[in-house]
Every structure is written in C-alpha cells, then in structure tokens.
C-alpha cells in the first residue's frame, strides 16, 4: 500500500500571511450524548478532557473539539487513528455512540502570520476579535463549510476534502500581498 496522500499534497502560498495545506491528519467524528463514559473515552483516545461548548482542548499533537452538543472532533496523528478507534469502542462499549474515521474526508490548512486573522475575515462571517482563546468556530469560508481555531500563532482551518482546491484558492486570494485589512 502507498502512503496516504492529502488532498493537495502540501500546497502552500506566501502572501501577507502564509497558507499551507497540512496533513494527512487523523480525525475522528465522535457522536455521544455525554457523561462519564464519554469523558473516559476521549481521555483514552486523545488524552484531553471533554471540551466545553465551542472549545477545543489541545494536548500536544492531539486535540478534541466541541462540534455540537452531541458531536466531537478528535484530532490526532494519522497513523494513530486505528488505535484511537479501538480505545473509543472499548470505552463506549454498550453506550449509544457513533465513531467514524473522517481523516480522509477532510483537508486541513494552516494560516500563519501576524495578520492571519485578516485572511479569514475576508471569507467568514466571524468576529475574530471576540473569538475566545481555544474557541473552535464552525462557519463557512465563502461558499463552503469550514471549521477554524487559533493555535500556535496561527489558525487551523478544516474543510471537506473535495473542495480543497477551492479553499486553497480562497486563502490564496485573500492573502495577496498588499491586501491587508489594517
């Protein structure tokens, strides 16, 4: 078997902020109504606590984001998804839940630089000035769904894999040198 290939194979652009496609990145969509078993399962899978509403808990190269009252996004190295799925199945045995490997269904971008937020402010109806630390915001980037959060001096943007070329086009357009908003 070949190595997994991310949607754009690491494409990048340097404008007033830098944009690069990262990955492949492991992602699990976990649906569960909450409770002690969930806490245990998330801990076992990615080592974080259960994130509060709209928050993402980061622990090293793993994270768990709140997607909706009964949906969480687990982020982890691509190669560790199988083990994490096993851990979830074990911890949630007998509990009503759904865990789906969605690593391949997504494209992930990093937008970095002092003005990274300005790139995103051109695409999403999101008030980045009031975005709280550790807040995961689901919204849209122009015409497609996107989730984004601030991390390590930049933003991580997640979209569907099939529109990766479109989103890269958006980010490139928005990061053009000279088009800073302030």
């Amino acid at each position: 078997m070949s190595d997994p290939v991310s949607a754009l194979n690491g494409a990048s652009f340097n404008g007033f902020a830098s944009v690069r496609e990262v990955g492949p990145l492991g992602m699990i969509s976990l649906r569960h109504k909450g409770g002690a078993a969930l806490t245990k399962a998330i801990k076992a899978a990615v080592g974080t606590k259960v994130p509060a509403q709209r928050k993402i808990e980061v622990a090293g190269d793993k994270a768990c984001g709140w997607m909706s009252p009964d949906e969480y996004l687990l982020v982890l190295p691509y190669g560790e998804v199988g083990a994490a799925m096993d851990a979830l199945a074990k911890a949630l045995d007998g509990e009503h839940h759904l865990a789906a490997d969605v690593s391949d269904a997504r494209a992930v971008f990093r937008v970095e630089g002092d003005k990274a937020d300005q790139v995103l402010a051109k695409l999403s109806p999101v008030d980045f000035a009031t975005l709280e630390p550790g807040e995961l915001r689901r919204s849209r980037a122009a015409q497609v769904a996107a989730a984004m959060w601030a991390q390590d001096g930049g933003f991580t943007v997640v979209c569907f894999r099939s529109v990766a070329v479109y989103v890269m086009g958006l980010l490139t357009h928005s990061a053009q040198p000279g088009s800073e908003l302030a």
Partner: protein, 972 residues
C-alpha cells in the same frame, strides 16, 4: 473662463503635478484634485451630453450627487463607464472620455432631439411606439437601443481584483463630518467598538470649506486634534474612500471601499466590499444641496452654490470669472463671500426671498456684493457655456428686469438631509416646513433584532443644517419665477441625467398620475444613475403642487440601496474564475485529467463524462466504453456516491420510516436497494443500503444527494423523533469508490490479490472487508449495469493510488475507464431508473413499477400517507415502460407522446413523455424509457413521440429491460 487660481486649494498639493487626458487631450492637475476639479482647472466646463435630448452638460456638483459629469474611465480591461468625475480622484495617466454623443462632444447629431423636445414629452416612448405592435420588436426597439445608454460597456474581462471582508462593531458612524466625528468620539469614549466610514479621502466634511468654528476652535485646529485623538484609539477604525451603500436587517451594512481606484494596477484590490454587522448605525451623512428650477438651469456653468465654493476653497479652482449667485437661503452667501475672497467677481446675489437680513447676507453686503431680494433668474443665456442671466421678480411671470453678463451661476434651492441610510430599513420621515425638507422622525426608526432603534441620525442628515444649532429657515421655492409660463417651465430641468423637466411632471399630473411612484416611472424622474439625489424633492414638490396637494401627502419614492452605485466586481468579490464556485473533486480527479477525461457537472462535483481518445467524438468514446464494459471490464470513479452511516438501537426502526422498504430485517453483511420519498410521497432518492453490524447501517445516496439526504435524516431525528437513539455521520468524502464492472471484473480483482472475491465468498448483494493489492478496502458486490460488478471503497487518501493499481492490473484484462454517460447507457439497457431522469419531483415509486420495493406490511413510512391521495392512486397515471423505435432511431430527449385532439389552450394533447433515451451500443439501436398513460397494459402498442424538427417518431411499447432479462451476467 474656468481656471486654476494662483493660490488656495486646501486639498491639493501644488508641488505634485499630475498629467491626465480627457477625450485624448493632455491636461494637468495636482495631486489631491478630483477629476472634476482638474477638468474645471483646464477650462473643461462641458463634460457630457444628456441622455434624451443630448444637451450640453457641465459639472453641477462636487460630490456623489453629480448627475451630469459622468465619463468613461480607463481603457481596455480597465474601462469603467459612468464614473462620476466629482468622486474620481485624479491620478497620473488617468484617461477619461465623455459619453453619450456622436460624433464628438462639441458637435453631436443626437442634439436634434433637443430641438424636437416639444415632440418628446414624458411618456413619449410609451405613447409613440405602441402601434403597430410588431414594429416594436423589429423597428422601434433596435433604433432606440442604439441611441440609448450613457457609457460604453467594456468588452474585455476586468483586469482588477476585488475582495470582500467582514467587520463587526458596536457603532458604525457613516460620514466623517463634524457631527460624525463627534459621534464616533463619544461612542469610543463609552468603550464601544467604532467603525467610521467616510466616502471622500479626507475627514472633516463641509465645515472646513466654510471656515467655521467648532467648539470655539478654528475648524482646522479642531479637526487635526480630533483626527489625532481617534487615530490613537484601539477601539476606533477609520476607513476613508468608503461609502456605506446600504443598511439591511439586524444592523447589516454593505460598504464599498475604493482601495485602489486612484492607484490602478498596483496589485491591491480595486474595491473591497465590507459586510459590516453593527449594533447601531449612526447616520452622519450630511445634506445635499438642491438646484433651483429656472429656465436654462442645465447650461454648463450653472452649478450648486456649495459645489462652486468647494472648487474654489478645496481645489483652488475658479469655475468662472463672474458668478451670479441665486438662492432662497443664507448658505449661498458663503459662496459669494468665498468668491470675493478669492478675488473673483460676483455681480449680484439674486435672493428669491422678500428680504435677507441674516448675518451672511449682511456680510455680503458689507463686502460690496449687490444683493437683489425678491428676484430670481428668468432665464440663463448661453449654449455650451453660460453667458449671462436675465433677472426677474420671483413673484411674477418672468418679465426681465435686468440682464447680467456672467460665465457661472451658483444656485441654492436649500438642502435635503441624506436620509437614505435611515430609510433603507423602513425609518420614517417627517416633512419639516422650516427647512422645506424631509427629515428622519426619531419616534419611528428602523428597528433592530431586539426592537430597538437600529439607526440614529446626527448633524445635517437629521435636519440640523446649522452647526451652531440655530434653526435655519429655508422657504420653499420650487419654480422660478413662481408664475413661469410653459415656455420657461419646459426649460427648467429637474433630473439632469434623464432629462426630466418641470413641464414633464406637470404633464404627468394632468394625465392622471397621482402617485409619486408611478410618476417617477412614467417620467423617469430620479431613475438615472444618481437616483434623483438632486431631483427627487424638487420633482415631488412640483407634483404635489400640480395635484393641489401637500408634499407630505404625496410622499417620497422608496429609498433603496445602494446609496451610490457599487461596481459588480465588488459584489462578486473573490467569486471569479477558478473560485467562482466550489467545484468538488474526487481523489482521482487529477488522474482523470491526465487521462483526457471530458468532465460534466453533477451537482458541484465534476465527473468524467467519458474518456475520449485521439480522433474520437464523445459519442464514439461512450460507445467504446459501454462495449468494453459489457465485453471486458470497465472502471468507474464512483467516489461521489453518498455514504451515510446510521447507527444506534433505533437505527433499524428509523430506516424503516425513511425507506419505503424494510431495512431493519436486512442481515449483517448484506445489501438491499431502497427508495426514499418525501412526505408528499414523491420519489426523492435511491441507493443501496448495507448492514454493517447489529446496530449500524451504511446508506448509499445518489451523487450530489448526500448532503440533502443527511440533512433530511437529521431533520427527522432532531425535530420529530428526538427520543430515538440514532446517530448519523456523512462519510461520503472519507472513501474513494471504484466500480470494477464487466465479465473480467473478478479476474482483475483476483490479480490485485488479498481477499476472496469468488461467487461463494462474496455473492451478489453482499459486502466484505479485506485488502486488495495491500489497500484496506470494503467491497460491495452490487451492480448498476447488469454486469458482474464490485464497488470498492478505499480511504480517500489512497484513492488515487488504488485507481492507478486497478488501471495497471486492468491492462491484462482490457480494462478501460468509463464515464457517467457510459454508466447511464449501461443502466438504461437494464431498465434501472435514475433519480432526476425518471423522477422530477412529481413521480411516485408506483409510477415506475417499483411496487416491489415498497413494503405493504409497514404501518408507516415517510410518504406513505401522501401516496394514498386519490390523485396518486389513480389508475390513469402515466407509468414507466420501455420503448423501441420502429426505425431504430433515438427518440429525442424531452419528447412527449402525443394523443388525439387538443387541450383548452389549443395545444396537442399528450399521454406520456420520454424520461431516458439513448443509443444502445450493445443492441445497436435506440432505446428509451418513459411514462405512458396506462403504460404497463399497452405492451406492443405503437405510440408517436414528437420531435424537435416537427413530425413524429413511432415506437413500440415494451418492458424496460432491454438486455439480459434474466440477470445472468451479473449473477456469476
């Protein structure tokens, strides 16, 4: 003569000369000039011709209200028509050309309309070109269209880039005049997030032009202190060159920032459209001066008094050596004084009022300016340029008391507050008799999401026309002189750009137009690119007078966004070219591109339609692909197929409600075809469902149907059966899916190696997990072609590699990729329905003979009640059958099956229609499916389909399965 003054000009930099051209003629201006100011400095007073009569027109205003001085700006891929010279900043190399004339600006053939103007009254086109009817399309319209239109439409794509951006604030202040600056500061003091937008490149508004005092300080000193104060604050953002174009629901404001209009080609976006969400809008947009209606008020050289003053003070430009001022209020005296101070001649101020005793008139008299009260202009003399005015008593009918030679006229008919942003979302207005203007009624504001006032109005926009707070009085003067006969009234322009005169509005009233909205459309008053900023109030005052009514009773036309035109590029933003819309690509997209695929859109997906080889037509390619799939093996990229996991203790029960058939009884490891209907009973989607484990099902949906069906599932789970324990996940994009189809399919997979795909290990309608060529796969033994067929799902990150592996291994078995058209032909040969072909939102499964997929035992499923409706249960419905033409030809797409007689509209009766029609390369003839009244009972009958060319094609009714009726090929 209009010229540059030796000194003055607060906005220009005399050490920075700028070269530009107008109609090819090289001219010089300074940095800081508006194009209008620079044209006036070069004695270019006449800059265009009017729309209907082609009359010479000059610059009237100094701001966005300008109706006349519109030009084509730039050339080629940077040509923009209808650009206002008054708001265009001068830059080096600017190229402008005048509009609406032929062959030249000073000699224009269309001016004949001017001499014929008394034969072209309001509604001329409506009245004249009614009869004979056929003439409109073939004679009148083409001629009128050639003569119509102002600017030139660009013929090349726009070379510039545009973008949009979102912004959020507590207070958005529109207009950076004194009132706006004060409002911004006080909001900032209160700790609120403030955005201040100003349409011009500088702050301060009109106050610095009039050299007033603010808070006891000279205005310039006050201004620089204020600018420094606001600039130092973190919670204030100031954006100049930004027009708030429209206010919408819940504090949503669109603002157009002209980022690089004045620096074209520097790589920055030309415009940026701001999408601002604010808790409150403070409208400090000021007021616009109104013209006076006197004969010849459109002759170049007649300008608004405030604008004329702007040119003198802001740009050091003198629009004329001798300027007669005509007014009904004190503000125009400022212009007289400014002209005098600049060393220019003001032979007289004609004041329509009986007396003028305010501080400004007194100052004018003291400066030696002759003030003639109770008088106005009977007529302006001149053609392409003012040469003088005839003076008359305002109270009379225009008897000339005196002639005054002059080369400019400064007029002021009072000021209209800019209430647009107040009114866009329904803020109401009151008529203020004191200043003869509509002003916002603070008790009836536009409302926000919480019911509070969304817009507040301050400064001149609120009707406060005097900075000192003293109420100004402006008596109405709608016609000058008040008893003007028709000869004068038919030369009094209301709407300069659309050539609407006082006499036109009066004619409309005489012809029975009562409503201001109707009169507007009949006369075209206020319908030009300036949207009546100068003309509307004057026009409706004339209408009110003609109707013997009061202005408040007549009311205003509706104020609609945008305040000033917003270029389409800004509205499109980033949505151009490659990112016009999101195109969805499968993991194998690049491989298909390399293989020369011809793509077709399927929803937002792009799927290969076929893979043409050198010298092949698309049709030939499709036939080759179909034949090869039937005879050897074909590879199809089926990644777009929707895949939704449904899991939970109640998942079976849920799927039984969702599908017309029973899914809860499906054994683990098996697949079942299912239909989904909407609540009306109409077929909505179909696909194969696989039982993964005890409480998990995987539902396949149509390509492009995944999001819709996932949303449909969530809707029922969240809003109707919220106590059912079911979770769903849309995993469509997690998997690339390859269909390996044809007699050699098994051999191909066996050559990849890794799992047992034999008939025994993996029978038809079952699935299995395993590996193929080392890839982790899930293999579904399902068929949409009637052939031995496997659909193989691999993680999308391996999709391209797996496709390549199949292609490589396939060489030994004569494998070829096939596209969506081949897929369609293959399924049609087998009589399989396609959502969107056999269905159109009015078709129930029973119409398609799919009763076998509908459970008779279930008490309920979505759509069951709908299907019980008598109309849907009727035996007279059109039902699905197959057709084969007698001559072997292909029935045209969209054909109807004709019946005898005609309907009530005289159209031929129909009894059915074709839904799928193809040339079958397998059978070497045309095949079709379609809906026919009583279809299944009419086997063997010959019916007639209409054709595009006329005539009909005969076809025999038959069953829908054209090939391998017993399913022997797929069952091996």
């Amino acid at each position: 003569m209009s010229t540059r003054l030796a000194k003055g000009g607060r906005l220009i930099n005399r050490t920075a000369p700028v070269e530009f051209s107008f109609n090819g003629k090289k001219m010089k201006g300074f940095q800081g000039d508006s194009l209008a100011a620079a044209l006036l400095a070069n004695d270019q007073v006449m800059v265009g011709r009017s729309f209907k009569y082609h009359r010479p027109r000059g610059i009237v205003a100094a701001g966005p209200e300008e109706p006349n001085a519109l030009v084509n700006l730039g050339t080629g891929a940077r040509l923009e028509p209808n650009q206002r010279t008054t708001t265009t900043e001068l830059f080096s190399g600017l190229e402008a050309t005048s509009q609406n004339h032929w062959p030249s600006l000073s000699f224009d053939v269309g001016v004949i309309n001017n001499y014929a103007s008394r034969f072209m009254p309001a509604g001329f086109y409506y009245k004249t070109f009614m009869h004979p009817r056929p003439f409109w399309k073939h004679v009148f319209e083409p001629v009128i269209r050639r003569a119509a239109g102002l600017g030139k439409a660009p013929t090349q794509g726009d070379a510039d880039r545009y973008e949009q951006a979102y912004a959020f604030c507590d207070v958005l202040v529109v207009g950076a005049g004194i009132a706006g600056l004060k409002a911004a500061k006080s909001a900032a003091d209160a700790g609120q997030r403030v955005i201040l937008v100003e349409q011009t490149p500088v702050l301060g508004g009109r106050a610095p032009v009039d050299d007033t005092e603010v808070d006891g300080k000279p205005v310039e000193a006050w201004l620089s202190a204020m600018e420094a104060d606001l600039a130092a604050r973190d919670n204030v953002t100031i954006r100049v060159r930004t027009v708030a174009a429209g206010v919408y629901d819940h504090g949503y404001v669109l603002a157009d920032e002209r980022v690089a209009d004045h620096t074209p080609g520097d790589g920055r976006p030309k415009h940026r459209l701001w999408r601002i969400r604010t808790a409150k809008v403070i409208n400090a947009a000021g007021a616009i001066e109104r013209p006076l209606s006197f004969a010849g008020n459109d002759i170049p050289g007649v300008m608004l008094a405030g604008a004329l003053r702007d040119y003198v003070v802001n740009y050091g430009v003198s629009p004329g050596d001798r300027t007669v001022v005509v007014t009904n209020n004190d503000s125009a005296y400022q212009t007289a004084l400014a002209l005098k101070a600049a060393g220019l001649d003001v032979p007289a101020v004609l004041d329509a009022r009986a007396s003028a005793t305010g501080a400004l008139p007194e100052a004018a008299r003291k400066a030696g300016i002759r003030v003639i009260t109770g008088h106005g202009i009977a007529k302006v003399k001149g053609g392409k340029r003012v040469t003088g005015v005839s003076v008359c008593a305002q109270a009379g009918e225009g008897s000339v008391t005196e002639e005054i030679g002059c080369d400019a006229v400064a007029m002021s008919g009072g000021w209209s507050p800019v209430v647009h942003l107040w009114s866009h979302c329904g803020g109401k207005l009151n008529w203020d008799d004191t200043i003869s203007a509509f002003v916002p009624d603070p008790t009836r504001p536009p409302l926000n999401h919480d019911g509070s006032a969304m817009v507040e109005v301050v400064g001149a926009a609120s009707g406060d026309l005097d900075l000192s707070g003293k109420p100004s009085t402006i008596p109405p003067v709608w016609v000058m002189p008040q008893g003007a006969p028709i000869k004068l009234r038919s030369k009094m322009w209301l709407d300069y750009q659309n050539d609407v005169k006082v006499s036109d509005v009066q004619l409309a009233a005489r012809e029975g137009y009562m409503s201001v909205e109707h009169t507007k459309r009949y006369t075209t008053l206020g319908m030009a690119t300036d949207q009546g900023k100068l003309s509307n109030i004057n026009g409706l005052a004339i209408l009110a007078d003609s109707l013997g009514s009061e202005i408040p009773q007549v009311g205003t036309t509706t104020f609609r966004p945008p305040y000033t035109p917003v270029t389409i590029g800004a509205l499109a933003g980033e949505s151009r070219g490659d990112i016009f819309q999101p195109l969805r690509r499968t993991p194998m997209h690049e491989a298909h591109e390399k293989a020369g695929a011809y793509f077709e859109p399927v929803g937002l997906w792009r799927r290969p339609y076929c893979f043409p080889r050198a010298g092949e037509t698309h049709e030939q390619a499709v036939h080759r692909e179909v034949n090869n799939t039937r005879n050897n093996v074909g590879l199809l990229d089926a990644s777009t197929l929707g895949k939704i996991i449904v899991k939970g203790p109640d998942a079976g029960k849920f799927l039984d409600m969702l599908y017309t058939g029973v899914m809860s009884t499906l054994p683990v490891g098996k697949c079942r075809y299912g239909l989904m209907c909407n609540e009306q009973g109409f077929l909505s989607d179909d696909g194969v469902v696989a039982r993964i484990d005890e409480d998990t099902w995987l539902c396949h949906t149509t390509s492009g149907g995944a999001d819709r069906i996932h949303g449909w599932m969530e809707d029922w789970l969240q809003c109707e059966w919220w106590d059912w324990k079911v979770f769903t996940a849309n995993v469509t994009e997690q998997y690339a899916q390859v269909a390996v189809v044809g007699p050699n399919a098994r051999k191909l997979l066996e050559s990849l190696g890794g799992m047992d795909v034999s008939k025994e290990a993996l029978p038809f309608m079952q699935w299995a997990d395993g590996t193929l060529a080392g890839f982790p796969v899930r293999v579904y033994r399902i068929s949409f072609s009637g052939e031995l067929s496997y659909e193989i799902a691999v993680p999308a990150s391996h999709g391209a590699a797996f496709w390549e592996a199949c292609t490589k291994a396939g060489k030994a078995f004569d494998a070829m990729p096939y596209g969506t058209e081949g897929l369609h032909v293959l399924r049609a040969e087998k009589g399989f329905i396609m959502i969107g072909d056999e269905t159109d939102g009015t078709v129930i499964p029973q119409d398609l003979g799919l009763d076998w997929a509908i459970s008779k035992k279930k008490a309920d499923y979505l759509g069951k009640r709908g299907q019980d409706r008598s109309y849907l249960a009727s035996p007279d419905r059109w039902k699905l059958v197959g057709f084969e033409t007698l001559d072997g030809s292909v029935i045209p797409d969209g054909s109807y099956i004709i019946a005898s007689g005609t309907n009530a509209n005289g159209q031929r009766n129909t009894q059915g229609r074709v839904t799928s029609t193809y040339y079958s390369p397998t059978l070497k003839r045309g095949i079709a499916m379609g809906l026919l009244k009583h279809g299944p009972t009419r086997m063997g009958e010959v019916v007639e389909f209409n054709t595009v060319k006329g005539g009909t094609v005969k076809a025999k009714v038959r069953d829908t399965v054209f090939f391998d009726k017993d399913g022997e090929k797929q069952n091996v």
